[in-house]
């Protein structure tokens, strides 16, 4: 919906040698997924990796709507949750009838659940884009989440429906009891889904989705019905959200109404946007970061929600292209070989910016823990919230960091302009 002229997904294909690096990236991702649990083998990391994997699929599926087709949804968790519920019910049915369906096939069931809901409600929902779609998605989200508490026989009330993933038939001796096996199951589906969703962007439908995002009116005059295009996008997004929901159901062995709720819908919006919606890999970065923060931040500070809000506001204001946008901005500079002229200014700016960030953190924590709580540990230094020295440090870091950072960032901008001009002259930047 924004008309900012950012290039869409990698046009890199036409360059010689890029095919190799293209497949290389996917291969590298696959290897990383396999190796990760061997490097970080603690139970905690396994749990985190599993959740991050699910979040990646969910965020990518959301980006089919927001990044690819320009549909802002406030109710994406509906498909995710319904996929999860269907998966749980099917797992229970499979277990009780001893059907020969192994656990790794269950996410597909979730996907079908998500897609089925999208097929049913999608046609009326996608009639219009923009605010109307956003508000309908909000309304549908609230409706389904509330109805799930009324239709107890299906959704099990607020306690939800539980299942036992080990009661399905084992596959190659794997029972999927241990978390490591579940991790590999999730990793497999992350790979499959990511490849499928990437492939989708390379199809005629995927391209037309982008056209609909950029200019739905014009699309009508090249033979396409934008409504049908949006409907398709909604279905695919629903399918992959359902896959993510199915995996969540396997991971937690429970599905409950919280899966469908606004929190879940908000989180996926956060992930996709923070990562950057203009590039395929953006939501992956966002999902990793947001899940990580969610897991980690809640244990270090009680006011994690405030940090979440501040990070989000910061991204919206200063980097609306998300992390991926920031990274990709540097690509022409790298190609033109002018990046090194910018790096020193970055390094200079990093110090006061870090000080400013520490100032914010110290200020927030001081307020939060003023009336009691553990001392604040920052870079290994303990600060006591009630001590005037802490207040002074916070103030110095905050104000000083801000003032100096502002100057250094101006320098960065200047260095950037110079580098970009050179890059433009060399033909790497339009």
């Amino acid at each position: 919906m924004t008309n900012a002229p950012t290039p869409s997904i990698a046009a890199a294909k036409q360059e010689p040698g890029s095919a190799l690096s293209f497949y290389g990236v996917w291969l590298l991702a696959a290897v990383a997924l396999v190796v990760l649990p061997m490097v970080f083998s603690s139970g905690g990391s396994l749990t985190s990796f599993s959740l991050i994997g699910i979040a990646i699929i969910f965020a990518l599926s959301y980006n089919i709507l927001l990044g690819q087709t320009g549909l802002l949804s406030f109710g994406h968790a509906v498909q995710y949750g319904l996929g999860g519920f269907l998966a749980v019910h099917v797992m229970n049915a499979v277990a009780s009838h001893n059907w020969p369906i192994p656990l790794p096939a269950i996410p597909l069931v979730g996907g079908i659940g998500g897609a089925a809901f999208a097929i049913v409600v999608g046609w009326v929902m996608t009639k219009r884009a923009g605010t109307v779609f956003a508000m309908i998605s909000l309304g549908i989200g609230e409706l389904v989440a509330s109805s799930s508490l009324i239709l107890r026989s299906v959704f099990g009330g607020e306690s939800g429906i539980t299942t036992d993933r080990t009661s399905l038939m084992p596959l190659f001796g794997w029972t999927f009891g241990p978390q490591i096996q579940v991790y590999y199951l999730i990793a497999f589906w992350v790979m499959v889904s990511a490849i499928a969703m990437y492939a989708l962007t390379r199809t005629p439908l995927g391209r037309i989705c982008n056209a609909v995002r950029d200019n739905p009116e014009r699309v009508e005059f090249i033979g396409y019905d934008p409504h049908v295009v949006r409907y398709f996008a909604y279905m695919f997004a629903g399918f992959f959200a359902g896959v993510a929901g199915g995996l969540t159901a396997i991971n937690f062995e429970i599905a409950n109404s919280a899966y469908l709720g606004a929190t879940q819908s908000g989180l996926v919006l956060f992930s996709a946007f923070i990562g950057g919606t203009a590039y395929f890999f953006g939501p992956i970065l966002g999902a990793i970061l947001v899940t990580y923060l969610q897991l980690g931040l809640t244990s270090v500070t009680s006011v994690w929600q405030l940090y979440f809000g501040i990070i989000f506001i910061g991204i919206v204001m200063f980097a609306p292209g998300g992390i991926a946008g920031i990274l990709m901005k540097h690509r022409p500079l790298i190609r033109a070989g002018t990046l090194r002229t910018v790096i020193p200014s970055y390094l200079v700016a990093a110090i006061p910016t870090l000080a400013f960030a520490l100032g914010i953190i110290l200020t927030i924590e001081t307020v939060a823990r003023f009336s009691g709580g553990d001392p604040i540990k920052l870079l290994g230094i303990p600060f006591v919230a009630t001590a005037p020295t802490t207040w002074a440090s916070a103030a110095v870091l905050f104000v000083g960091g801000f003032l100096v950072a502002r100057i250094t960032w101006r320098r960065v901008a200047e260095a950037w302009d110079r580098a970009a001009t050179v890059a433009r002259d060399r033909g790497y930047l339009a």
Binding site: P5, A11, T203, L205, R207, N210, R218, E220, G223, V229
Partner: protein, 249 residues
Amino acid sequence: MTAAIQVNAVEKSFGNVQIIRDLNLSVAKGERHAIIGPNGAGKSTTFNLISGHIKPTSGEIRLNGEVTSGLRPFEINRRGLSRSFQVTNVFARMTVWENVRCAVLWATGHRYAFWKNVDTLPEVKQRTAEILDEIHLSHRRDVPAGLLTYAEQRELEIGITIAGGASVIMLDEPTAGMSHAETERAVALIRRLTEGRTLVIVEHDMSVVFGLADRISVLVYGHIIASGTPEEIRGNPKVKEAYLGEEVE
């Protein structure tokens, strides 16, 4: 022989304001037809009616003999009519290449396909490359359309319009805002690209109109007051009256 476009007694009102009154227009197949008229005469509205952007209040529009009034724009487009816009209307965040390619996809039968790799469709690739060549934008193929110069965007606009291979092409002020040299280039381009097709064009630049058109219709206050060859229009007193006002009396 059926006309490419046949407009019969079309009326269009917005609220109480009647914009188009008893509009009758016939464009023969293979003809280059220009619509001229003073500002606010309803030229763009006529375009919007024919291309399905808005629906007529009453009357009938036929494309190659088939009734199209009441159809949606994409349905009309699929029946062989393609139009451009007065205000540049491209896919800003997509590259030039992708802009044109999107316009090729439906016509080459790929529709909503989600099982084909768009990069490996030979006829799509070939056709897109041809169009880019024709509109002289091959060297800009990987630039996002939003970053093109104005003249380049106008050329891209024409490229998107003709890419689907429609038999009837409608161009809404294709040279508006262009310099003299750019205009000449654009006219040559239009002439070449619409060879063997039906062309309907709205234009303010009279040199373009009289140089390009086989026939001209003059639209005043939502009504066609004259239709004919450029010579006939030049000599028509009603046209003079409309353009020159009371002075003729």
